[in-house]
C-alpha cells in the first residue's frame, strides 16, 4: 500500500463519524431508489410467473345464458388457443359469528379434468368431488379472515335457496390476486369471498344445465385481441353477452397493473427527488470536507505530486465514502424491497414471491450517488490544486470583514461580541451560509413531501367517503329490479331512506380512443350518493348528456360540449352519441354518470334499478342485516364505514409504510447534513475557539459561538424548507396520477410543524454530539499547530 493510500485509510478512520454521516446520506437515497425499483421488478416478475404457471386467460366474457355448444364456436374464432366455459354467480353467505351479510362470487370448476385456464393453486385440502354437491373450495384470504379450514361449513343463499356448504380446500386464483367485491375499491376479505364449486352443482342451483354464463379464452401469440373480442361479442350477443374484455380490463389485473404503475410512478418521482436532494447534500458536504484539506493538497503539490495524482487521491476518498454509502444503501434497499414486496403480497395474493432484483436498480442508484459525490469533491479539489502550492499551504488569509451600515444600527450595538462574531461570519460568507441553510431546507422539504401523503390521503378519504357519500350501505342486485323495489326496501325495518341507482356496462369512445367504463345512472336530486365534485361539491345531474370525471375526459381527450360514442354492453346493446354535459373532479377511479331515467331510456329496459343506497337507523341495524341475508336477488351489500376502514387499512399497509421509510430517511438526511455542517465548522474554527478558551471564555460561550451560527441557519432553513417542500409536494401530486386515484395537494399546518420539529431535533442532537468535542478541545495542541 502506498503512503498516500495509508494516509487515506487513516484519515477516513479519523473522520469516521463524518464519513458515516455522509455515507448515510448517500445510503438513504440509494436505499429508497433500490427499494422502489426492486419492489416493482419483483411484483412484475411474480405476476408474470404466476399468470403463466396458472394459465391466466387473455379474454373474459359474461352472458346471461349461452348454450354449451357455443363454446366450440368460440374456440374456433381465429387466434383463440383455448376456450373454457363456466358458471359465475353471486351469493350471500351467512358466516357464523359475523353479523353482516357476506358477498360471495361462485365459480364453477370443470366436472372432469383440470382447469384449462385460470388454474387454482390449492393451498390446503383438495378440490371438490363431483359426486358431493355441497363441497366448496374457498379463497385463502377469505378463509383466513373467517378462520375457515377444510371440514368447516357455513350457510349460503344460492338463488334464494339456503344451503350449507362444506369447505374441502382453500385456494388462490390468478383471477383474484386482488379480490374486490363488485363496486368495491379495496379488498375486504371479511365481507367478500370467492367460492369454487362443481360445475353441475352450480348449473343445477342456477338453472344453467347445458349452458354457461361466463367464458375465458387464451389467445395464440400474435392474435388480434380486438378482433377476437369483436367476434366473441357477436357470438354472445343473442345470449345476453355484456361485452367481452381483455386481460387489461379484468378487475383484479387492472388493480394489480394500476398498483404496479402507481408504484412505478412513485419510484420514479419520490426516490428521484430524494436521490437528487441526497446528491446535492453529498456534493455540498464533500466540497466543504475537501476545502479543509487545502493545506495538505498544497503540501502534496510541493512534493511534486501531479494534479491528477492528487485528484485521484481525493477521488478515492470519495469513492470509499460513496461505496460505503452505496453498500449500506444497497443492502438496506434490497432488504426493504423484499420486505415491501412481501407486504404487497399479503394484500395482492400470490402463492409465491419472486424477489430476484436485477442489477439495473443498483447500478442506477450507485452511479447517481457516486457521480454526485465525485462531482462535488472534485470541484473542490480543482479549486485547491489551482492555487500555487505556496499559497495553498498558507492558511487562507484572514477574511476581510467590514463595518457596514448594519453594524452601526442600535440593534448591532446591543449585540455582544460572540453574537457579533456569528452574524459577521454569516454576512461575510453569505453564499456558504445560504448553501448550508439550503441543505437543511432540502431535508425539511423532502420530509414535508413525504408527510404530505398522510394529509392528502386523509383529504381524499374525507372528500370521497364523508362529503361525497352519505349512505350507510349500498345493496346491489343480481338482476335489474323494477323501480318499486325501492319502496319495498324503504319498508324494511331500520331503513330510513333508500335511493336507487342504475349501472350499465358500456364502452365510451371518442375517435379511436375507447374506454370500457360503466355508466352510473343517478336519480335527479340524489342526496345519499350524488355526483360529487371534489372542489364544487354536490352537482345535480343534467337531464340529458353525460358527466365524466376529469381523468376519464382526459383519457378520451374530450371536454364539456364534445360528443362521445356510447356502446351499452347489456340489454339491447344500444349504440348512440351523447354530449358531455359536464366534467367533474374526483380522486378515485374514472366514473361516468348520467340521469337514471335517461340511462334507462337508452338501455330500453323500462324503469329499473341495479341497486340502492340506504340510510340505516343504528338501533335496528342488526335486524336489518339479518333480513338482508335472506333477501333473494341481493348480490352484494357494501357498507360505507367498512369501505373507509378497508381504505385506511390498505393505505396503512402500503402507502403509509412507504411514506414511513421516506420520513425515516429524511431524518437520516437531516442528521447527516447537520452533523457534517457543524463538524466542518468546528474543524475550520478550532483554533479560533481554542484561542477564546485561552482568553477565558467558558465552554458554553464558545459552544454558543460555534452552534449559534448553525442555530440561525436552521431557523432560516425552516421557512425555506417549507416553501421548497410545498413545491415538491405540488410537483409530486401533479405528476402522480393513475386511473385508480389522484392525490389532492393538501398540506396541513401541522405537517410543516412536524417537519420543522424533526429538523430542529436533528440539529439539537448533532449540536449536542459536537459540543462534547468542544469540551475536549486540546487548547495547547490547537494553539501550537501552525497558522
Amino acid at each position: 500500500m502506498s503512503s498516500l493510500d495509508r494516509k487515506l485509510v487513516r484519515e477516513l478512520w479519523r473522520l469516521k463519524a463524518q464519513v458515516l454521516a455522509i455515507a448515510l446520506v448517500i445510503a438513504s437515497g440509494t436505499a429508497l431508489l433500490i427499494m422502489a425499483l426492486t419492489t416493482i421488478e419483483a411484483l412484475e416478475e411474480t405476476t408474470a410467473a404466476y399468470y403463466e404457471r396458472t394459465r391466466f386467460a387473455d379474454v373474459f366474457a359474461q352472458a346471461k345464458r349461452a348454450p354449451e355448444h357455443l363454446g366450440r364456436d368460440i374456440a374456433d374464432i381465429p387466434g383463440v388457443r383455448l376456450a373454457e366455459t363456466r358458471i359465475v354467480e353471486g351469493a350471500i353467505l351467512d358466516m357464523p359469528g359475523f353479523a353482516e351479510p357476506v358477498v360471495a362470487q361462485l365459480l364453477s370448476l370443470p366436472e372432469r379434468g383440470p382447469e384449462l385456464l385460470n388454474a387454482l393453486v390449492i393451498r390446503s385440502g383438495r378440490l371438490t368431488d363431483p359426486t358431493r354437491p355441497d363441497e366448496v373450495v374457498v379463497s385463502e384470504p377469505f378463509a383466513e379472515a373467517h378462520e375457515l379450514k377444510p371440514g368447516d361449513s357455513f350457510d349460503a343463499v344460492l338463488r334464494g335457496r339456503k344451503r350449507t356448504l362444506q369447505v374441502v380446500g382453500t385456494a388462490l386464483s390468478p383471477e383474484f390476486v386482488y379480490a374486490i367485491a363488485p363496486g368495491g375499491l379495496m379488498p375486504d376479505d371479511e365481507r367478500f369471498g370467492i367460492l369454487w364449486m362443481g360445475h353441475d352443482t352450480l348449473a343445477a342451483a342456477f338453472d344453467l344445465k347445458a349452458s354457461f354464463n361466463s367464458i375465458t379464452l387464451s389467445l395464440l401469440p400474435g392474435a388480434d385481441e380486438k378482433d377476437v373480442i369483436r367476434r366473441l361479442d357477436g357470438l354472445l350477443a343473442p345470449f345476453g353477452g355484456i361485452g367481452a374484455y381483455g386481460r387489461a380490463d379484468q378487475t383484479s389485473n387492472w388493480f394489480l397493473e394500476s398498483e404496479i404503475a402507481q408504484q412505478r410512478n412513485m419510484s420514479r418521482i419520490m426516490p428521484t427527488i430524494f436521490l437528487a436532494v441526497a446528491a446535492f447534500l453529498t456534493n455540498m458536504v464533500m466540497a466543504r470536507l475537501i476545502e479543509t484539506q487545502r493545506r495538505e493538497i498544497g503540501l502534496l503539490k510541493a512534493f511534486g505530486y501531479s494534479n491528477l495524482a492528487i485528484g485521484w487521491h481525493y477521488a478515492k476518498m470519495v469513492l470509499v465514502i460513496g461505496t460505503i454509502g452505496i453498500l449500506i444503501g444497497s443492502l438496506l434497499g434490497a432488504w426493504l424491497g423484499h420486505w415491501n414486496t412481501e407486504l404487497y403480497t399479503k394484500f395482492y395474493r400470490f402463492p409465491f414471491l419472486l424477489y430476484r432484483p436485477g442489477p439495473a436498480g443498483f447500478v442506477i442508484a450507485g452511479a447517481i450517488s457516486l457521480g454526485a459525490a465525485l462531482a462535488g469533491s472534485l470541484a473542490a479539489v480543482r479549486r485547491a490544486v489551482r492555487l500555487p502550492p505556496a499559497e495553498a499551504m498558507l492558511p487562507p488569509s484572514p477574511p476581510i470583514y467590514r463595518r457596514t451600515w448594519a453594524s452601526r444600527t442600535a440593534l448591532a450595538g446591543a449585540l455582544d461580541e460572540p453574537s457579533r462574531m456569528i452574524v459577521r461570519r454569516i454576512v461575510r460568507w453569505p453564499v456558504r451560509a445560504f448553501l448550508a441553510s439550503l441543505g437543511l431546507a432540502m431535508s425539511i422539504a423532502v420530509l414535508i413531501m413525504a408527510l404530505q401523503w398522510v394529509d392528502a390521503i386523509d383529504s381524499l378519504a374525507d372528500t370521497v367517503f364523508e362529503r361525497g357519500q352519505h349512505q350507510d350501505a349500498t345493496v346491489a342486485f343480481n338482476d335489474l329490479q323494477p323501480i318499486h323495489t325501492v319502496g319495498d326496501f324503504e319498508r324494511l325495518p331500520g331503513v330510513l331512506a333508500a335511493e336507487p341507482y342504475r349501472h350499465a356496462s358500456a364502452r365510451i369512445s371518442h375517435g379511436h380512443l375507447v374506454e370500457r367504463q360503466g355508466i352510473i345512472g343517478v336519480p335527479p336530486g340524489a342526496i345519499l350518493s350524488p355526483v360529487f365534485d371534489a372542489e364544487r361539491g354536490r352537482i345535480d345531474v343534467p337531464p340529458g348528456g353525460l358527466m365524466l370525471s376529469r381523468k376519464l375526459a382526459e383519457l378520451l381527450h374530450v371536454s364539456a360540449g364534445d360528443t362521445v360514442g356510447i356502446e351499452l354492453l347489456e340489454g339491447r346493446q344500444a349504440r348512440l352519441s351523447l354530449p358531455v354535459a359536464q366534467v367533474f373532479e374526483t380522486y378515485l377511479g374514472t366514473p361516468a354518470y348520467m340521469e337514471m331515467g335517461a340511462l334507462n331510456r337508452i338501455a330500453g329496459d323500462g324503469r329499473v334499478v341495479s341497486g340502492l343506497h340506504i340510510l340505516v337507523d343504528s338501533p335496528s341495524r342488526a335486524s336489518l342485516l339479518a333480513k338482508l341475508k335472506d333477501i333473494p336477488n341481493v348480490a352484494a351489500v357494501l357498507f360505507r364505514q367498512a369501505a373507509i376502514d378497508t381504505f385506511y387499512k390498505t393505505m396503512g399497509e402500503t402507502i403509509f409504510i412507504f411514506i414511513g421509510f421516506f420520513v425515516a430517511f429524511s431524518m437520516t438526511l437531516s442528521v447527516g447534513v447537520t452533523y457534517n455542517s457543524i463538524r466542518i465548522a468546528l474543524s475550520e474554527r478550532a483554533r479560533e475557539l481554542a484561542t477564546l478558551r485561552v482568553l477565558g471564555f467558558s465552554r458554553w460561550e464558545i459552544s454558543y459561538i460555534l452552534l449559534g451560527e448553525v442555530g440561525i441557519l436552521t431557523w432560516v432553513a425552516i421557512p425555506l424548507g417549507a416553501a421548497i417542500g410545498y413545491g415538491l409536494a405540488w410537483y409530486m401530486t401533479s405528476a402522480f396520477e393513475t386511473e385508480l386515484y389522484r392525490v389532492p395537494l393538501v398540506l396541513r399546518d401541522a405537517t410543516y410543524g412536524k417537519a420543522a420539529l424533526i429538523a430542529l431535533a436533528a440539529t439539537l442532537v448533532c449540536a449536542a454530539v459536537v459540543r462534547r468535542r468542544l469540551d475536549r478541545l486540546d487548547l495547547i495542541a490547537v494553539l501550537k499547530t501552525r497558522e
Binding site: 503512503s3 487513516r10 493545506r295 512534493f303 511534486g304 501531479s306 494534479n307 495524482a309 502550492p389 499551504m393
Partner: protein
C-alpha cells in the same frame, strides 16, 4: 564549502512579485537577482515580510513571479507550465518548512515514503531518517515526536529523493536553540555529504554563521551580500 569555481545551480534574474489584496498592491519582491552555486549553503536573512519566503517559494517552483526568470542548471523554468514546475519540484527540489508540515496520519517512515514513492532515484526512508538521527523513531506518528524530531523527519523527507536543491524556510523557527542546533547539524551534514545546494531562511542572525554566503533582505530587495570567511559549526552557536 568554498567553491567559487563551482557551476551555478540556480540563477534568478530580476524577480518581482506583486500581490494584490483588494485594491492594495503589495510588492513582495522588487527585482531580485540571485545565484546559488552547486553545493553551496546560502542563508537568507531578514525581518519578516522582507520577501525571503517569497523568493524561496519562487526558486522552489511553489509560486510564480510577476516578472523575472529563474534558471536551473542553465535551463529556464517555464513558469506558466504547471506541469513543468511540478516535475521540477518532484525531481530536483526538497523543502523543509517552519511548521514541519508532516502528515499527522502517517508515521515518520511513511511520511518519508510519501516522497520516495514518486521520486526517480531516492534513498530508502530508513536511510534518510538515519542521516537525521532518527533511525530508531521510524514508526512513530508525528504526535509522538518532539518538535525537533518532527523537523528532522521533515528534513529526511526533503532529502530522501536526493534533491539537487534543498530549500529550508525557517527550519528552526519553531524550535528551542538546543533542538534547533540538532536540526541545523542535520542540514549541514546533508549539504556536505550529499553536496546538495542549500538555501536556508532565517531571521536569526546567529545562524547565518554556518553559511558560505549570506544574503540580507529588506523590503523586497537584497540589501547586502556577505561571504563568510569561516563557516562555524552549529554546535558552536548559541542564541
Amino acid at each position: 564549502m568554498e567553491n567559487e569555481a563551482a557551476a551555478i545551480a540556480l540563477e534568478a534574474h530580476e524577480l518581482t512579485k506583486i500581490y494584490r489584496m483588494g485594491a492594495v498592491e503589495v510588492h513582495a519582491l522588487r527585482g531580485v537577482d540571485v545565484d546559488l552555486r552547486e553545493g553551496e549553503l546560502v542563508v537568507l536573512l531578514g525581518p519578516s515580510g522582507s520577501g525571503k519566503s517569497t523568493l524561496l517559494n519562487i526558486l522552489g517552483g511553489l509560486d510564480t513571479p510577476t516578472r523575472g526568470t529563474v534558471k536551473f542548471r542553465g535551463q529556464p523554468l517555464s513558469m506558466d507550465s504547471e506541469r513543468a514546475l511540478n516535475l521540477y519540484r518532484r525531481n530536483h527540489v526538497g523543502f523543509v518548512f517552519q511548521f514541519y508540515n508532516l502528515i499527522s496520519s502517517l508515521t515518520a517512515r511513511e511520511n518519508v515514503s510519501l516522497v520516495t514513492e514518486i521520486a526517480g532515484n531516492p534513498m530508502s526512508p530508513v536511510e534518510a531518517l538515519s542521516i537525521v538521527g532518527l533511525g530508531d523513531r521510524l514508526d512513530h506518528f508525528p504526535a509522538q515526536l518532539s518538535g525537533g524530531e518532527q523537523q528532522r523527519v521533515a528534513i529526511a523527507r526533503a532529502i530522501a529523493k536526493r534533491p539537487e536543491l534543498l530549500l529550508c524556510d525557517e527550519p528552526t523557527g519553531a524550535l528551542d536553540s538546543k533542538t534547533g542546533i540538532l536540526v541545523l547539524e542535520a542540514i549541514l551534514k546533508i549539504n556536505r555529504e550529499l553536496g546538495t545546494t542549500t538555501a536556508l531562511i532565517t531571521h536569526n542572525a546567529v545562524i547565518a554563521e554556518i553559511a558560505n554566503r549570506v544574503l540580507y533582505f529588506a523590503d523586497g530587495r537584497i540589501v547586502e551580500r556577505r561571504k563568510n570567511a569561516v563557516q562555524r559549526a552549529p554546535g558552536e552557536l548559541a542564541w
